[in-house]
Amino acid sequence: YAPAAKGPLGYYTDEALTPRRDAASYNNFYEFGTGKTDPAAYAHEMTVDPWSIEVDGEVAKPGKLHLEDILSRYPLEERIYRLRCVEAWSMVIPWVGFPLSALLAEFQPTSKARYVAFRTLYRKGEMRGTRSFTSSLDWPYREGLRLDEAMHPLTLLAVGNYGKTLPNQHGAPLRLVVPWKYGYKSIKSIVRITLTEKQPATSWNMSQPREYGFYSNVNPNVDHPRWSQKHERRLPGSLFKPNRIETLMFNGYEEQVASLYAGMDLKKHY
C-alpha cells in the first residue's frame, strides 16, 4: 500500500501515534459488550471469512462484492487520522484502506441518491453484547452519511491499521473511517451499504436522539447533554500525565470539510 501522503489534504498528521497495543485493547464495539476491553476479549468469536458486502438502493448496478474482490480491485493507501470518541477521548491511528467514493462510484448512484446507509453484521451467536437484555441499542448497528460526506476524499473504507489486517475489535474485515465525526459514525464490520433518498435511521440517534444527532460532527462548541466536548484525553494517558488537550472543530479537519456544512446551524444539526 502507498504510505500516508503529507500535505494539506488531511491524509497525514505527525502527531504521536497511539501504540498499536493500546488501540487494540481499548475499543467501543457494543456488539461484544459495553466495557472497553470487551471487544478485545470477545471479538475473536466473530467469523470474518468468508465476507461480502451488499450494495443496493438508489444505484444503477446493485450487487454483492466479496472481500477478495474488494482487496484486489482498489489500490490501498495509508492515512494517519485523529479519532475522536464522543466520550471525550481520542487516539491517532494509521489506517490502511481506500476512499469510499471509489466503491460507491462503481455501483453508480442514481440521481435520487442523497444518503448512504450502512449496516454492521448482526450474528447473535457470535456477538455476546447483542444478547444483553438491558441494552437500549437496536441491532443491527446502523449508521449513515449524506452522499457528499460519503464521497469526500477523507472518508475511508479501512481494511487494516498499523500496516496489518484489521483486528476484529477494530471492525474487521472492513470498516468506515470518517475522521471529522465522532467515532461511532465510523461503523465497523460492514455487511450492507444502501443508497437512499431519505435520511436513514442511525442506531445511537434512535436510542438517544437528544444526545446523538445524525451529523455528529466533532464540535467543541456543542456539548453532549451529560458532558463537555471542549476537551479530550489523548490516549494513552498516564496517571501523572492525563494528556488533556483542546478539541478542535471538525476534529482538526475544518479546512477540508467545513464547506460541506456552509449555512447550516451546527447547534441544531448536531
Partner: protein, 178 residues
C-alpha cells in the same frame, strides 16, 4: 484490598491506555459496593441473629468513604487538574457530577462522627444524623445510572440491591410502629 490492586496496576502499567478513567471507575464502584455492604449489616444481624457483623459496620462504612474520597480526588486530579474554575463548571453543567458530589458531601459528616467518642457525645442525634446514608446511597445510584450510554444492566443490579436494603428498612420500620 482493591486499592492495593489499583496501586499495583498504576505502577505496573496494567490499567490500560486510559488509566485515569480506570481508576475513577473502579474507585467509584468500590465506594458503592462498600456502601451497600455497610447497609447490609443490620438486616443481616436481624435476620440471622448474629452480632459479629455489627463490629464490621464502622469499618465497612469508612471503607466506602475512603473509596468515595479517592474517587472524588482522582476526578479532581485527572479531569479538572484541581482547577477550581473547571471543577465548578463540571459541577454546574454535568448533573451526574453534581449528584455524585452531593452524595460525598452527605457521607462526610458520617465519617467525621464515626468515632466512639462522637457516638457518645451525639447520643440519639447520632442515629438521626447517620440516616443520611440512605439519601447518599440513592444519590450514588442516580450518579451511576445517569452515566449509562446504552446498557442499563450494571446500574440495574446496584439499583436492585439498594432497593432491597432500603425497602427492608421501610417495611421493618412500619412493622415496629404498628
Amino acid at each position: 484490598m482493591p486499592f492495593a490492586w489499583l496501586l499495583y496496576g498504576a505502577f505496573a502499567g496494567g490499567l490500560g491506555p486510559d488509566p485515569a478513567k480506570t481508576v475513577i471507575l473502579q474507585t467509584g464502584e468500590w465506594a458503592l459496593r462498600f456502601l451497600l455492604l455497610t447497609l447490609a449489616v443490620s438486616p443481616l444481624r436481624r435476620i440471622s441473629g448474629w452480632y459479629w457483623p455489627m463490629r464490621l459496620r464502622r469499618m465497612l462504612g469508612l471503607f466506602a468513604f475512603f473509596y468515595a474520597c479517592v474517587h472524588l480526588a482522582s476526578f479532581c486530579q485527572f479531569y479538572t487538574g484541581w482547577d477550581a474554575g473547571r471543577l465548578l463548571e463540571e459541577l454546574a453543567e454535568r448533573p451526574y457530577i453534581t449528584v455524585g458530589a452531593l452524595a460525598w458531601v452527605l457521607l462526610l459528616p458520617l465519617a467525621i462522627t464515626s468515632t466512639h467518642a462522637m457516638q457518645r457525645r451525639l447520643g440519639r442525634n447520632w442515629r438521626r444524623l447517620h440516616r443520611l446514608v440512605y439519601p447518599a446511597l440513592l444519590l450514588a445510584c442516580v450518579h451511576l445510572a445517569w452515566q449509562v450510554r446504552s446498557d442499563y444492566g450494571e446500574a440495574l443490579v446496584y439499583g436492585v440491591f439498594a432497593a432491597l436494603l432500603l425497602g427492608y428498612r421501610w417495611f421493618a420500620g412500619r412493622r415496629s410502629r404498628q
